[in-house]
């Protein structure tokens, strides 16, 4: 009787492994498809990854409920009706029940856990994974930009974990305050993302005082952005603007 219980524990564990494998493949497909779709919206890998993990858990739970001894019997006709009869009567200790357990134990030795898996379905899933992975690889290799839309979460302040004090401290850092009484030369390079702060001097080093404004702040654009203002209207607008900021 103990042996039959052990056998069913093993069968249950094997079924769980099969279910987990199937759910893992399904969630891999889910992850790849959602990553592909969300890339159109310029959303990174984190959200599809989290969604795939949740999908894996839910899928495993529901698949475990669906799989039954009947499925194993279908794939192994030698134990048809016998397996679930033995399972339902595990607590029986009669002569007939023991004879049934012996026969089931004997026949289950010839059954491998591979028979619990539907190879056809498994192959289909692997093919789908391969196709989508190849697609993603091709996009990455050829640096194809599939982002058609802006990230809707781009303007959301994700600095949730920065507390007020940290923010205030940041503001109070003298080195971070660029406006002051000294001259600041900022070279704007061709790529707007790169600002060369090497030319910026610390206002304290230049002897500038925070409350004194000396002269004008001259910002020199690099060559690429140099534009001679030939048009008189443009010159007027520029002059008015520099008056304003003074």
């Amino acid at each position: 009787m103990v042996k039959i219980k052990e056998m069913f524990e093993e069968v249950k564990f094997e079924m769980f492994k099969v279910v987990l494998l199937g759910a893992f493949l399904d969630s891999a497909i889910f992850f790849l498809i959602s990553y592909l779709v969300l890339s159109v919206f310029s959303i990174g890998i984190l959200i599809p990854l989290l969604a795939a993990i949740i999908y894996l858990v839910i899928r495993s739970f529901f698949n475990m409920k669906k799989i039954s001894l009947k499925e194993i019997e279908k794939r192994n006709p030698s134990v048809k009706e016998m397996l679930r009869t033995a399972s339902d009567n595990q607590e029986e200790d009669s002569f007939m029940a023991r004879a049934l357990f012996e026969e089931v134990l004997d026949k289950m030795k010839a059954v491998s856990s591979g028979s619990f898996i539907s190879l056809k379905q498994m192959m289909k899933k692997l093919v789908v994974i391969f196709i989508i992975s190849s697609l993603l690889f091709t996009i990455a290799f050829f640096n194809i930009n599939i982002s058609k839309f802006e990230n809707p979460f781009a303007n959301v302040n994700l600095n949730f974990f920065q507390n007020k004090q940290t923010q205030e401290k940041a503001i109070q850092e003298a080195g971070l305050v660029t406006l002051g009484s000294g001259k600041i030369d900022i070279n704007l390079k061709q790529n707007l993302n790169q600002i060369d702060f090497n030319s910026v001097s610390n206002p304290e080093d230049t002897g500038a005082l925070a409350d004194e404004l000396e002269g004008d702040v001259n910002a020199k654009a690099s060559k690429a952005y140099t534009k001679s203002l030939d048009d008189i209207n443009d010159r007027k607008t520029a002059a008015e603007y520099s008056q304003k900021i003074k």
Binding site: E81, R84, T85, S87, D88, M96, A99
Partner: protein, 316 residues
């Protein structure tokens, strides 16, 4: 040793096949009827046999009792049959000059009792028999006499010639586990019957293959055959459906039928040498278990449906 148990159970299949083969020396064909009689015996229950005259009912049951080495008695149902003619009565006996009352056992004190044409006996006599069947004992006066074990009653009914009969009410037929239908033999079988019973050679004697004690053990084993929960549920669902089909069935079967189907399915599995009940066993046994427990509606009878047709519709 473990596998010996498995082999022993499988040997039972050959045991039952041998019993059928042995009976076949006297009875031609009718293997399905024989199987159902064996099922009833293994379930320690009783069976009702509906048959036209001259189909070998007495010969068949007599052959079963010979092969199983069981005491056999036959009771012919007649309108003047009294209960004491079945169960026995006290008679005055002269012993040593003194007169004493001694209980003389009736024909019911046997292992296998064939009650021929039970519907010809009066309701009072029918009740005496049915009571003995139910209680497995007989009470006369203030004394109780237990019946022999194993005890099996095969009651027969003639579907024709109903004049002057007292048909068993449905409440009484419910006490029989199975209703077995014995039909006319096939042409080849009838030729064989004619060959055997009109030829010069004698009918061979039957060998005893099983004893009463072995049969009691087999009855215990039949009860032990495991059954899966979903197959058990299926059996109960079949019986429940008989109560939920008012357009075809006026009165459905009682829970006694659910017990009967499962017991009969277990016995069938044992006869087939299996250690578990199959769904096929339940579906096969549903017919003899249910056919005498359903009262069909007028619509069903008008459509020419019999109980077996309705059971087929229920099983699907």
């Amino acid at each position: 040793m473990a596998m010996d148990n498995v082999k022993n159970i499988e040997k039972l299949k050959s045991t039952f096949s041998n019993i059928v083969s042995e009976i076949a020396k006297k009875i031609v064909g009718q293997e399905e009827v024989l199987e159902q009689i064996l099922v009833a015996i293994l379930c320690d229950a009783n069976a009702l046999l509906e048959s036209f005259p001259g189909l070998g009912k007495t010969s068949m049951i007599s052959a079963v009792s010979q092969v199983m080495k069981l005491k056999f008695s036959r009771i012919q149902g007649t309108p003047d049959l009294m209960p004491s003619d079945i169960i026995g009565t006290y008679v005055i006996e002269d012993r040593d000059g003194k007169k004493i009352f001694k209980f003389q056992k009736g024909p019911i004190f046997a292992n296998i009792v064939l009650m021929d044409e039970i519907n010809r006996a009066t309701p009072k006599t029918q009740a005496a028999l049915l009571e003995a069947m139910q209680e497995k004992q007989v009470t006369v006066g203030n004394q109780t006499f237990p019946l022999d074990k194993p005890f099996f009653v095969l009651a027969t009914q003639n579907p024709i010639d109903q004049e002057g009969t007292y048909p068993l009410p449905e409440a009484q037929t419910d006490r029989f586990l199975l209703k077995i239908l014995l039909d006319y033999p096939k042409k080849e079988d009838e030729l064989e019957i004619v060959e055997r019973y009109t030829g010069a050679s004698e009918i061979p004697q039957l060998n005893s293959l099983l004893s009463g004690d072995s049969l009691v053990l087999l009855q215990k084993l039949a009860r032990q055959v495991p059954i899966a929960n979903d197959i058990k549920k299926k059996a109960v669902e079949i019986v429940q459906k008989t109560r939920k089909l008012p357009e075809l069935i006026e009165y459905g079967a009682s829970p006694r039928a659910s017990i009967g189907i499962i017991m009969a399915a277990k016995a069938k599995a044992l006869i087939d040498g299996r250690k578990y009940v199959s769904l096929k066993d339940v579906e096969q046994m549903a017919h003899p278990i249910l056919r005498h427990r359903l009262i069909l509606s007028f619509k069903a009878e008008r459509e020419g449906l019999n109980a077996d047709d309705v059971i087929n519709k229920i099983i699907g």
